[in-house]
Symmetry: C2
Subunit: 549 residues, 2 copies
């Protein structure tokens, strides 16, 4: 019955119903502005060019790129021609990039000028890759007679587009054809790939556009700061298109100045990214000022934004921060936290408490929270368990990872659950709150201690910049918490101060057995605390305190 769920109608809608609407893009060479009409023409040329480079239906087009219009064009050209867009994180170390490109066996790579070096270094390992296209102006393409050892079959994006006529029409593509691919950030083991079919992207983008999720309308001006190599930039390239909204792509490694300028100049109404971006932005605004009057909402994901930051954006700039939760495996957005209209929240404290959670599961999904014995835990805001989710926008396998596919999923008659690895509570109102990653939770004497809860509390201390809490092994209690804290410059808060600070709100046995003061918490390429690295770094710490004392 009915037509397949593919990306073609999204492209159709933006290019036919909103051909005059602007697409804005900051690039390596400056700022570009064109219309959805021109976008459509360039997508058709790109498809034609990729075809000439040998890309066929079913092939993989890898990208190493920032958020800009050329990358946006690839988001459509590859899937519309029946190929698969594989976005690779260009911030990863060489060995991860090598693993990801060779594991996926990409056929063609579209890379930003600042990723050409990476490709040249790794070229010998890239057996599957038949062509490399540099997503920049012509002067960004290395000379073929450069002194580089690698003899790359390298092309300039713009001359490829100039040389090829737009395709006339799109082939019929099956809704189950893989259209996207992404690798998990991989804080444990090697990054694992997941594939998104046409149907999954269609379904997720439509869901993401609803008021319950991103709530993207035609009059929105949307600036995705979340990188396009990161879970389809939380689907914004697709939601803006289906909605006919104006996208603003902030380009290569945008800093706070770039972001403020784009908000001011383009009238951005909605933006999205991880908390650090917005913390930095506040600092910038404190120093330089800026006009955020057009901005209505910031969607925050990846990790939780400090409550103080949410408050400041709202009180000082009239901008609502909205918490979202999601994973590569859920195609980004899987929950959003907004108070329900039926809630009787007295004062804004309660409102922030609700909004600081990960929120209500998005439409189209189902969830359950299970303890170590596989039993569902009650929704009481206290009982911990691992979050399981399923739905048409949740992957049901990793790419060629039979072991992970055994351990990370569970079937029942209603379908396949993804075990998210997030340890959560759910309150009486159905709001999810992540208390830990399953692998980071501390099990002390049979009881769980949430490392994330301790971290958030510590980061609420005025002299603390960053805090990460990890488990260290303990003869009697199996595991005990250790806090690693970055002090604010010029302050001298000590371990006992912080233990006392925590003692107001937590039982004694939750208090860290020591606090190490460090220069910086190591981070993954996506900006999350890298606790695996941290645990390696600290190895055998001194534990002067004992639980309960």
């Amino acid at each position: 019955m009915a037509t397949d769920l593919t990306l073609r109608p999204f492209f159709w809608r933006a290019t036919n119903l909103f051909p005059e609407k602007e697409v804005v893009s900051r690039t390596h060479q400056g700022q570009t502005r064109y219309t959805y009409g021109e976008f459509g023409e360039r997508v058709r040329r790109l498809a034609s060019a990729l075809e000439a480079l040998g890309v066929e239906s079913g092939d993989r087009v890898g990208t190493l790129g920032w958020n800009h219009h050329r990358h946006f064009e690839a988001y459509y050209a590859a899937p519309l021609m029946g190929a698969q867009l594989h976005t690779v994180n260009l911030l990863l170390h060489d060995d991860h990039v090598e693993h990801i490109v060779t594991d996926a066996a990409d056929d063609v790579l579209l890379v930003d000028p600042d990723a050409v070096d990476t490709v040249e270094r790794l070229w010998d390992a890239f057996d599957s890759v038949e062509a490399v296209v540099v997503m920049g102006d012509e002067d960004a393409v290395p000379d073929s007679d450069s002194d580089s050892d690698a003899d790359l079959p390298i092309y300039g994006y713009e001359s490829l587009l100039d040389d090829h006529d737009p395709v006339d029409s799109w082939p019929g593509v099956d809704e189950d054809a893989p259209a996207g691919m992404c690798y998990t950030s991989g804080t444990t083991g090697k990054p694992k790939g997941v594939e998104y079919t046409q149907k999954m992207i269609y379904s997720h983008a439509m869901m993401a556009a609803t008021p319950a999720a991103q709530n993207v309308d035609e009059d929105d001006v949307v600036m995705p700061v979340v990188p396009m190599f990161h879970v389809n930039a939380w689907e914004f390239p697709y939601t803006v298109t289906l909605a006919g909204a104006k996208p603003v792509f902030p380009g290569p490694s945008p800093d706070s100045e770039d972001l403020v300028r784009l908000i001011e100049e383009e009238g951005v109404t909605l933006t999205a990214g991880v908390p650090t971006v917005w913390i930095d932005l506040l600092d910038y605004l404190d120093e330089h000022g800026g006009d955020l009057s057009s901005l209505e909402r910031i969607i925050v994901g990846g990790s939780a934004a400090p409550r103080q930051v949410m408050r400041r954006f709202e009180d000082e700039y009239g901008v609502k921060m909205e918490h979202a939760w999601g994973m590569t495996e859920t195609m980004s957005i899987g929950s959003m936290s907004r108070p329900k209209s039926t809630m009787d929240l007295d004062g804004d404290g309660e409102s922030y408490e609700v909004r600081s959670k990960q929120g209500l599961l998005s439409p189209g999904l189902e969830m359950k929270v299970v303890d170590d014995d596989g039993e569902e835990v009650p929704w009481d805001g206290e009982s911990f368990g691992e979050l399981y989710v399923r739905g048409p926008t949740v992957v049901d396998e990793y790419f060629e990872r039979p072991e992970a596919n055994e351990t990370d999923f569970e079937d029942d008659e209603g379908g396949r659950w993804l075990k998210t690895g997030d340890v959560v509570t759910v309150d009486e109102n159905g709001y999810i709150e992540i208390v830990d990653r399953a692998k980071d939770v501390i099990k002390s004497g049979g009881e769980w201690i949430s490392s994330i809860e301790l971290e958030n509390e510590l980061m609420g201390h005025e002299d603390v910049v960053e805090a990460a809490v990890v488990s260290v092994s303990h003869e009697r209690w199996q595991e005990r918490p250790l806090a690693c804290v970055v002090r604010k410059e010029g302050t001298d808060v000590d371990a006992e101060d912080l233990r006392e600070f925590l003692a107001d709100d937590y039982p004694k046995w939750w208090l860290p057995d020591n606090v190490l003061f460090i220069e910086e918490v190591p981070k993954t390429a996506t900006g999350k605390f890298d606790k695996k690295q941290l645990r390696e770094d600290i190895e055998d710490p001194d534990l002067p305190y004992t639980p309960g004392e």
Copy 2:
């Protein structure tokens, strides 16, 4: 890949995340108010009861019911158990009801108290039906030893629910399983059935919830006046559930007083229905007054609302009327008309002009407009053609109607087009405007005359209540327009007056060759002008005027 697209997560979301949210329902016996939590329990009991009545996966559960909570329960119970909900229009004449129930071979019927008579009259023809359940309180169920000839296996809805425990879990249901069924209103020939799969309803409801379409959010209070026997009540029973919005069901044949009371008492923010409902409501408000302050939007479909009515709602009550277009074959909403943010509309006249059109095609769909030779017509706001649409929410066949399936669809490499039968123009901005039904368009001397345009213009005359324009055969010009007009009581406007009135805006050859003054325009069961009947009624009219004079 991933879980199938079924209705289960919508049910999960409303009953688990919004168990405290109210569901309000006006019934034959008074007003009911309960929560989504109780709704969930009752849906599970209904599924259990239907199972006991022999309903299996794949069976059809027919309904003859108004908009109330029991009907809403059936909207979920049947599909969740893998059966198919077949909504039958209880306002149809017996022969149509008989055709529809026997054509679909419904297994069980859920009927409103005021439809029991219909079922008794037609019982002998209903070979497939094994049980009849009366959707009312117990006193609405006829005695089994009544003097009726028909010995119906008849059950009371409430006692069935009391007698059956809720089902524990839902079976896995395939996304391609038929979940809904509806018959076209059938102004030509016998009503034709269309089937909606789980996947189609999931996709359409998600699309309908987006800001580009119905824009339903959690804090909305939604009153679908459009009947639940009419294209899934434009999907509102599903969009409210997935959004967690509060539904208000206005019950059996609600009048304006009922609607105003429900808006006032329940704080309705969004309602939807055909134009006549809102015209009547304005009359009621003029006479009795009423408080519409909670109401933000009225979505209007079925036919176009007069511009004067749109203006009055907006100017006097602050309520926005939004035009939607859709068909049984497109699962309702297929376009919505709101001005684009990029439009520079000077004064509200231009805004109303845009908003009076059928608007922009909804996300997920594609369209083209073709002339008699199958060539696409330009988007110039003037060129006419038949609207073709396709997408995952457009049916690609009629139920067991091989001839219609030959004529009403057209395949190309991108999928199957539905020929809508609507003759439209599309303007430079992509806004669709219906100028006629293909079968009603008047072809005079090789030129098209839009009957709808003439009707709308005539209905703008102060002394005209209703106007329908039909073609009559003409020796020289093949077809000529004839206007059938209902005069306002106590006025004596005549044919020459109306021709002069039209002459201001239309070429002479568009002017009707006569105007017949009639008591009422015959209507179909869904309230549309029944031009087939009208043409039969007038047969051989006098034509005193000739084109061009």
